[in-house]
Symmetry: C2
Subunit: 421 residues, 2 copies
């Protein structure tokens, strides 16, 4: 580049702000046309995408990228199918923009309600997976926001090839090219610039490891919608149905190990533990899940269970490891979750109405469940259609963030010459 | 104090976090009892409040506080009546906490909805007016949040006397004393500590001058709900009813000059200007409002109108001064507002349906109005019952912030042993 990184990023920001005004008034049909045209462009560009992705993979191998990273980087034909399908699904979602709710007359005679509007410009910072480029761009576009995408440097050629397809879609719908911009430099200063332009960027959504997210949250000069830990709990209450308890505690841990909504600590009421823990331990043993328990858990299950330390109660393993603790009351379970949890997703298994009611009220997490697996906590399962991430923040969006989380509401007021007296 | 400011603030923070858990599960009746008991305590403490306030006023006079500041600091019997009435009004508002909405079955068989919950701990930083102590404490308490209040050092004795009344109310309702804490040191480091404890404080609401708010936004390590400028516009469209236009443009400017929702710039379509501007200028002249216009405005109204500079389009006068600009189209009006405005409150006067519709969609402000005075933009007029401030942010709360703005929504999921496949 002939210009410096700050000058370049400033130019992207200014263009995004400009484009966001056009996007805010784009019709639903126009936005959908862009999404479907981008899908068609992806389908037509399979060969080009494969070449671009191969360049990234070769460079990654040459620079000694770990196999797991190379895996995430790879753009398979199936992966391309998934991106195309994703674009079509987002096109099929209802347009949130312009929705007016709660319009009512007030004593002064004015009518007041709320209208859903785009946030403006959204900066997305992510790591290796190139499909995030499509996920993020499509949700932002549908919700009327301009996007600046900063992917991992190891995926730069793949991301640029994908961006060309999005550009084709935007052009076909008559939307500005700056509606979706991919940062073309791999210079790290670009991230610093992107998170420090409150005049051009309204919110940052980082997607990636905890280190990345903490760094961005600390340094950002604009609001950040972030997802930190997923230290999720299942609590098996004394009044649990044992069959449901076993089914849920199995599923929450073992259906998949890596997602953030997988259970990391199992809490069991001491009075029901002898009935549910031995069969659960057998299931976990068979599936190769390492157990780490409190002293009473080890007393019950034997020395195969390792001793859990204080660190285990705070651990997000994302792996076949489970911490288990016996508690003597619902209060103790809630106290444990509110102390060690990450306010992500926590479930109680119980048939006791008042215990369920208290758990729902007193557990301060973005998703609180009764008799269901924590693995349900995601945008698709919640009926949001898609998600840009799961927020562990309390302000603005909490839990799975779909289209609504990328919008804001402004007040609309109608009068007939009304003045204030 | 025997302890250092950071140690002291840390202790307050820890106590607030603890209290917030109790408050989150406090019943509606209990919270209302505390509010009404605090009102009774205020009523009984009028003499004590007067003495405390006199100490602040004497100290303020001695230190050369400006008359306007002394005015804000004064706690008159009427002011105390207002605080008592405010507490009663907040007690009468519906409790937002625990409200569950949009509960619906999904294809997997789980039920998903959203439950309204407190944010947790709210830090309020404000300047001289002691009545903010009651406003802020009552709204936070009703919405189930613990509060740490840091008022102006010049009002410290008044605030402490008010805090004792709140404490009496909390005690009578069996709620923890740490539910509402007033920072007892006037050391400036207390503010720095308050905005840097994400483990104890969930959100900061600064109330005061722009300098204070900018400083806090820049330095805070927790989210800030902030209100910066109120550069509000009225645009008189070519299709405006001239009577309504004159009534609204008069009211928006002159009903009161200091509020943030008063009009600062009047935009007038050139084709209707000869009909509405001369009578408006006569009204403004009579009320002593200084006019600063674009060249065409001055051509129309004469040299009594000063020449407006670029700075005038960005000015928040909060005073009997008005900038006037003629425009040739709705597009130009929208462009002016989105360029120079502060995204607070903007109104169009028009009978043209499509112009109104475009203005509502394309003006990116927290309140957008048709045929009504910008002066309506506040929590009471919008039916929120009360407000803790007006947010010019886009994330979380936008526009007047009432009880709902002090809450968040978590997902609740009900199943019957459901697991993910």
């Amino acid at each position: 580049m002939t210009e410096s990184v700050p000058v370049y990023m400033n130019r992207l920001g200014r263009a995004a702000r400009e484009a966001s005004r056009q996007l805010a008034r784009a019709s639903t049909a126009q936005k959908n046309r862009a999404l479907l045209a981008a899908a068609a462009a992806l389908d037509a560009a399979r060969a080009e995408l494969a070449v671009a992705n191969q360049r990234d993979l070769d460079a990654g191998r040459a620079s000694g990228l770990a196999p797991a990273m190379l895996d995430r980087l790879a753009l398979t034909p199936n992966g391309i199918d998934g991106m195309i399908e994703g674009l079509r699904q987002v096109a099929a979602l209802p347009d949130p923009i312009g929705e007016i709710r709660d319009m009512r007359y007030l004593p002064s005679g004015i009518q007041v309600g709320k209208m859903r509007v785009p946030l403006g410009v959204i900066g997305i910072i992510y790591e290796s997976r190139p499909n995030v480029t499509i996920d993020a761009a499509s949700l932002c576009l549908k919700s009327g926001n301009a996007t600046i995408l900063r992917g991992g440097s190891e995926a730069i050629h793949s991301n640029q090839a994908i961006a060309r397809c999005i550009q084709a879609g935007l052009a076909e719908a008559g939307l500005p090219a700056a509606a979706v911009q991919v940062v073309e430099t791999t210079d790290r200063d670009a991230v610093g610039a992107l998170i420090s332009m409150p005049e051009y960027v309204d919110v940052i959504v980082p997607r990636g490891g905890k280190g990345l997210i903490e760094r961005i949250s600390r340094d950002a000069r604009v609001p950040v919608i972030k997802h930190l830990d997923g230290v999720c709990h299942v609590y098996i209450d004394v009044a649990a149905d044992p069959d449901k308890a076993i089914r849920i505690a199995d599923n929450a841990k073992t259906q998949r190990y890596s997602p953030c909504n997988a259970m990391e600590t199992l809490l069991v009421h001491a009075d029901i533990a002898p009935r549910v823990l031995p069969p659960l331990a057998a299931i976990y043993h068979e599936k190769g899940v390492e157990l780490r328990g409190c002293p009473r858990t080890r007393e019950l299950l034997g020395d195969d269970v390792l001793a859990a330390s204080e660190d285990d109660w705070r651990a997000e393993y994302n792996a076949p490891i489970l911490a288990i603790r016996l508690v003597d009351s619902l209060d103790q379970a809630i106290e444990h979750i509110n102390t060690y949890g990450s306010q992500h997703t926590d479930a109680i298994v119980t048939e006791h109405f008042s215990d369920a009611r208290r758990f729902l009220t007193e557990v301060d997490s973005s998703s609180v469940m009764v008799n269901a697996s924590t693995r349900f906590a995601d945008g698709f399962e919640y009926g949001l259609g898609a998600e840009i991430g799961i927020s562990t923040d309390k302000l603005h969006a909490r839990g799975p963030v779909g289209l609504d989380g990328l919008t804001s509401e402004k007040y609309v007021v109608f009068g007939d010459g009304h003045v204030r007296t």
